[in-house]
Symmetry: C2
Subunit: 405 residues, 2 copies
């Protein structure tokens, strides 16, 4: 018999009927003799509603107190869930973040887990209780409530699975698993049986919003097998696991895309030492994360610097750059919000050449202009005009034969 | 400058506007140089809503998990309150029951406070923070969340005031203070400036629903001065304090009433030893609290036993008594749900005779029949027909001159 950590997201516990159906699923696995630790999110919409409520008071609610407010969301779910299980005759116990001894740093709103002392959970499991842990939350060293940021329940689940040395961490969501690309865009998209942590990291960070990045990082670090699957059916989903030899046979495992970035170009920058540092320090001090950066030096000795930032930070970044351009005597600042990033991902690239060439020629065949390129060991990303996103995903999916099992 | 504990009830924090107005009130007292610890209830209606939600799942939700659910109510209020204070520029910190180190027994749903280690609060106060403590909640020795039962925030506030040796515990509510009787029934009812703990205990237990009984008991035990006042105006309310000589001049300080009880009579009970024990043991084992008991022995050697129980428990108590009547061969079981208890309360009764006589004659003058009588050192209660309640309150209020200051 196994020790299974399961995590159910907001839509999976969206109302009492859904919570009942989760309780049935959990009770079946428990009755088969397994130990089950369930990590639950807030019911769909609850966290957003609470943020809205706080914003009615002030645009900038104190983060530490906002965390206290948001933590009520998962607290509600775990207590309702245990009331449900108990009414069905299954012994259970809810634990909030601090009760599950999930210790984080003090970065309220996006805290990182430092340590989990899973003694209390182990004790409850040994008494054959189903343990329901409030996801997304922890406590700092002083006992203040912290939250882990969007999608934090995934990280709670993986971290608990690591601490408990669970056999598997099942992430239940509203999709069947990880697909070769977005099935809404590409009908030939195929569900993957397995994917490596590294590939999943690239998929997640590039817009396949199935698993929080930090959860995958955690899983990779502690080698926790993750099973991404749907809470709406009984189908097997996708295993996210350590890279194995099987995987290497597949050169490319997925096509991902993101429309979340905007592009900024500082044109005609005097090519002096320290200029790039000046530009990116100011952006980083504003808390803005730069993704891709390209620098072209013109014959004249002037440089064009292009980089991408999250669309949400576009206006801020633009006004910072205009000030800097003025200060350093750059020619002009150009911006473009209508871009998309399309990426080809696969661990097999490490040992196969020609992936980049195939990607560029496939896009060229459709007259899709490539504005920026960035590469890593296991992915190649191209920035293109936003309007070509869906077309690019489909032709790349086809070119790399991803519809074939 | 003083250390003041203030408690605001559900209607006082019923929406964001009300919370803002509480924040203004608190900030004024703080700015005058006082240290302020604020105990908050859940927003009006929230606790009932959560109980309803749990009851949608099962009629008998597991108490321990229900406490986890209900605790979100006060958690929401204190975090919103601190977000409000911080947005107004006042340093504050919310503390949940366990963070305020309010340790209780394990009686989930109606836990009793065993201990408060107020170190964290003292530390925050010394840093000139306004501390907002979630009322109604604590933790047991193992760290499980507990709640203190209806009106439990009053007890939280008084217990904190005792632990902190506060100068006063202000209980803010939707009434101006403690009246000589219910102003809705008797227009001549007068607000009392002071009342003793013992009188307040009798008032509270008899239906003047202003302060939780346990809060008054706690205040009496630790000699915490309570100031009951309205959060809707700036008027002084009523001080609930230790009995002093001044009070003794007033023979009667209030008339209280309750329509919450029903009466049960076992008629023609064989007068054998052990019969009364049999009757009341079965009632008590069903968790029903008996209030008044009267026994009349008839010439025949048979006994009539009459007692009152809460109206909520009336049906259960009746069916238990019918079984018992059958078993012991009593003649019949009679029940009456249409009764009321009217009480005259005053510490001055201890040294003044004639209060009972005056009460009985006043009721007799109005042809109000007295069905049962019970007395204590500082109160006399009569059970009468429910329809005469208001009349009885008015004539007694008048007879004892309570409209005169």
């Amino acid at each position: 018999m196994a020790l299974i950590v399961q995590k159910y997201g907001g839509t999976s516990v969206g109302d009492l009927d859904r919570i009942r159906s989760v309780a049935h699923r959990v009770s079946k696995i428990y009755s088969a003799g397994n130990d089950v630790v369930v990590v639950l999110s807030a019911m769909a919409g609850v966290t957003d509603g609470l943020i809205q409520l706080a914003r009615t008071i002030t645009n900038d609610p104190k983060k530490q107190e906002l965390d206290v407010l948001l933590a009520t969301g998962e607290q509600t779910t775990v207590s309702l869930f245990c009331i449900m299980l108990e009414s069905m005759g299954y012994p259970s116990k809810s634990l909030l973040g601090y009760q599950a001894e999930i210790v984080t740093d003090r970065a309220f709103g996006h805290a990182r887990i430092l340590d989990i002392k899973a003694n209390r959970i182990k004790d409850l499991i040994s008494k054959r209780k189903i343990v329901a842990v409030a996801g997304f939350q922890g406590r700092d060293a002083k006992g203040n409530i912290t939250t882990l940021g969007r999608g934090g329940s995934d990280t709670s689940a993986v971290a608990l699975a690591a601490a408990l040395k669970a056999d598997v961490c099942e992430i239940y969501t509203d999709v069947d698993g990880v697909y070769t690309t977005d099935p809404n865009i590409c009908k030939r998209a195929r569900k993957l049986d397995r994917i490596s942590y590294d590939e999943m990291l690239e998929m997640a960070s590039l817009g396949a919003k199935i698993l929080q990045i930090r959860a995958v990082e955690f899983a990779k670090k502690f080698n926790v097998p993750i099973h991404v699957r749907s809470s709406f059916n009984e189908e097997e989903g996708t295993m996210v696991v350590e890279e194995d030899k099987d995987m290497e046979r597949l050169v490319v495992s997925g096509i991902s895309y993101s429309k979340d970035d905007a592009r900024i170009t500082l044109a005609g920058v005097p090519d002096r030492p320290g200029i790039a540092s000046l530009i990116f320090t100011s952006i980083s001090e504003a808390g803005i994360v730069v993704d891709m950066i390209i620098q072209n030096t013109r014959k004249s000795g002037l440089t064009d610097l292009t980089f991408t930032v999250p669309k949400n930070d576009y206006q801020t970044a633009m006004s910072i750059q205009k000030e800097i351009a003025h200060a350093i005597g750059a020619e002009e600042v150009l911006g473009d919000e209508h871009i998309a990033k399309v990426s080809v991902i696969g661990v097999g690239m490490r040992s196969h050449s020609g992936v980049a060439a195939k990607m560029f020629s496939t896009l060229a065949n459709e007259n899709i202009n490539i504005m920026m390129i960035s590469t890593s060991e296991i992915k190649i990303s191209c920035v293109i005009e936003e309007k070509y996103t869906e077309l690019a995903v489909r032709v790349l999916h086809n070119a790399f034969g991803l519809h074939e099992a």
